[in-house]
């Protein structure tokens, strides 16, 4: 190679580097969705051909679909061509330089949640060394996990390093064309989490997306895939405790869980996306598909969710109980205040023999909030001795909100036992007066009563999450009375 060529190469390389750098800082695809955009996303992420093909298939399917209209929520039509589907990770330069530049309202919320100052900086995306601290923390976790043989990484990394596992399981619980939003996600998802727990391994720590919160800012289309191999167990926490300042924005994630024989997956969510203001302006449209399959005998999947954020929540974490003796659980607290709307619940699909499911749903509506529970319990012909217990309670605060319950039960096996209990109550003046005449202020009293109402669900949350969830309810209920 001549010197001249080397110099040219060096120049080219340098030019490329610089180009790349600029790209990272301000790389956002033009609004709109078409096959070219999907090719762009796939190329940016250096994906293999099969991944691109999978995306394109999903997109073609999506193009033939229409939005679901059955949910009890109302919003203006979403212009899917007005959304930008690729935005490179925000660099630290994009973020606020210090807490002084962060919306004071946001800081106030953090303070109320009792989040330490340093963590507040991380949550707000402030460019400080703490961000790097958090990265190194993540690395420490990774070492410990690797020792146990657990794979826990970003979805992109999994596509690159564990393509076999991804190809085997991706879309196996939530097929590409499952529903409108899942199809959209399958076409355009940008990143997410991947976890594989090998046979017989009890994951040595609670896996959490907490340290990824900053990165999560980039994409509103996450994809999560968790596989618990035979006899393994894992507890996964998904915390979006950082209220986002984004305006009406679509968040369409897909989560797939696969529990093989004797495996146990516990998935806990505390969702607090930006709910919009008191008049209902702004806020996240949280249209999420979450489903797990107990694919082997004695498998166990448990969903616990605390949904306090988002302008609209459309979400039904479900269990497909394929394996004999497998167990599905759904514990949910959904709170709607101001103009928030939630249509949430679960589906329990009993296929294997002696399968059991439990549904505990607590809906709280305040302000002008609308809160719907929608749940399906389906017992297939093959599901001998299937059992379900459903308890569905609604609590109303004030007289301008609404609670709705839509239970669907389909039983095709006569040996099945399905129980459904539902209550709707209001926080009574008597309860409030009782607490107040013990010296407890009105807002604290409401918090106390609501937390008591949610207790059956909170006790399913990991300890530190339960504390956070209680505080979060308090913050979300502010101004709900008086």
């Amino acid at each position: 190679m001549s010197t001249g060529t080397k110099q040219v190469e060096a120049l080219l390389k340098k030019g490329y580097e610089a180009g790349f750098y600029t790209e990272v800082e301000s790389d956002t695809a033009p609004p709109g969705l078409n096959e070219d955009i999907i090719r762009l996303i796939s190329r940016k992420k250096n994906e293999p051909e099969w991944m691109l093909e999978w995306r394109l298939q999903s997109f073609r399917h999506w193009s033939t679909m229409t939005e679901p209209r059955w949910a009890s929520v109302h919003h203006p039509p979403i212009d899917y061509q007005a959304i930008s589907y690729y935005s490179a990770p925000r660099t630290r330069k994009d973020g606020p330089k210090s807490l002084d530049e962060v919306d004071p309202k946001l800081l106030e919320t953090y303070e109320k949640l009792g989040i330490p100052l340093r963590e507040r900086e991380i949550l707000a995306g402030v460019a400080v060394d703490a961000v790097f601290d958090s990265v190194s923390v993540a690395t420490t976790f990774k070492d410990k996990l690797a020792e146990a043989g657990v794979i826990f990484c970003s979805f992109s990394e999994a596509v690159e390093k564990h393509p076999g596992l991804v190809r085997q399981y991706l879309g196996s619980v939530v097929p590409q064309g499952d529903n409108f939003y899942a199809a959209l996600n399958s076409a355009v998802f940008t990143d997410g989490s991947f976890c594989y727990v090998p046979k017989g391994v009890r994951c040595p720590m609670e896996l959490s997306t907490y340290f990824r919160i900053n990165a999560a800012k980039t994409g509103q289309f996450e994809r999560t895939l968790i596989i618990a191999d035979e006899g393994s167990s894992v507890s996964y926490l998904e915390g979006c405790t950082a209220p986002m300042r984004d305006e009406n924005q679509l968040h369409a994630a897909v989560v797939e869980l696969i529990a093989l024989k004797d495996a146990h997956i516990k998935y806990s969510t505390v969702q607090n996306w930006y709910p919009g203001d008191a008049e209902g302006r702004g806020g996240i449209y949280n249209f999420v598909t979450k489903r797990g399959e107990c694919r082997g005998a004695n498998a166990h999947i448990s969903w616990t969710q605390v949904e306090t954020g988002s302008a609209i929540t459309w979400k039904y974490p479900s269990c497909v109980l394929t394996g004999d003796n497998s167990v599905g659980e759904f514990y949910s607290v959904a709170l709607t205040n101001n103009r928030q709307q939630a249509d949430t619940g679960t589906k329990m699909i009993h296929i294997g023999r002696n399968t059991r499911s439990t549904i505990i749903s607590k809906g709280i509506a305040a302000g002008r909030g609308q809160n719907a529970y929608r749940g399906l319990v389906k017992v297939a012909k093959s599901a001998e001795n299937a059992r379900n217990y459903t308890q569905c309670d609604s609590l109303l605060i004030g007289d301008r909100c609404g609670a709705h319950t839509f239970p669907y039960i389909e039983v095709k096996n006569p040996t099945a036992s399905v129980e459904h209990e539902a209550t709707t109550s209001k926080i009574s003046d008597d309860q409030l007066f009782y607490c107040r005449s013990r010296g407890i202020g009105e807002e604290d009293a409401v918090n106390m009563i609501v937390n008591g109402f949610c207790r059956a669900v909170f006790k399913e949350l990991p300890m530190e999450f339960a504390v956070e969830a209680q505080k979060l309810l308090g913050v979300s209920l502010e101004g709900a009375i008086g």
């Binding site: 007066f433 607490c435 013990r438 010296g439 407890i440 008591g452």
Partner: protein, 191 residues
């Protein structure tokens, strides 16, 4: 209505409680899922905070409630139950007296604390109240019957009718009332 130099009716309920007023309810409400002892802790600390005293920590607090719950002859499992949820009528009333014992009010108003109690529960409630009598505490006991007053001997008896005190006396007044009925007072008033 003046209380310690302040207009009691002008205060919201929580402020009255923080000023040392305790109301034992005739029909205590159930608050599902809210731990009895948790309510008491929030309550006591709200009152202490108002007085400028430090909040009790969990250990000190537990010691206090375990001691006070004996006054109404309940075991510790009483503390862990949700406020009045699934309590019998007698347990609800005993819970009110237990709360009073924890909060140590300056003025306690016991609203028909004897209603719906069997004789054993009545004795327990009465003994709890008697324990809490003292020179720094005024107790206003509202009742329709002499029965409770056999166990809690009042210093002063007032007869309330149509929102006014129509007669005052000592314990003998209550006994006379029991014998002659409230109509007797009306006749006296009319005469």
């Amino acid at each position: 209505m003046a209380y310690c130099g302040r207009d009691l009716l002008a205060l919201p309920p929580e402020a009255r409680a923080r000023e040392g007023v305790f109301l034992a309810f005739q029909y205590p409400v159930e608050i599902p899922g809210v731990n009895n002892v948790y309510l008491m802790k929030a309550s006591l600390n709200a009152i202490r905070k108002h007085r400028g005293e430090p909040e009790l920590d969990a250990v000190e607090f537990l010691k206090l409630v375990k001691e006070r719950v004996r006054l109404v002859q309940m075991d510790d499992s009483f503390l862990g139950r949700a406020v009045n949820e699934g309590f019998s009528g007698g347990e609800k009333k005993r819970n009110e007296i237990f709360q009073m014992a924890v909060l140590e009010p300056r003025l306690a108003i016991l609203d028909e604390t004897d209603s719906g109690l069997d004789i054993d529960a009545l004795k327990i409630v009465a003994s709890g109240v008697n324990h809490l009598r003292g020179p720094d505490r005024a107790i206003v006991l509202i009742t329709h019957y002499q029965r409770l007053l056999d166990y809690i001997v009042p210093d002063v008896v007032h007869v309330l009718s149509g929102g006014r005190i129509v007669r005052s006396g000592d314990r003998e007044l209550a006994r006379t009332l029991e014998q002659r009925g409230y109509d007797w007072l009306k006749e006296v008033a009319a005469a």
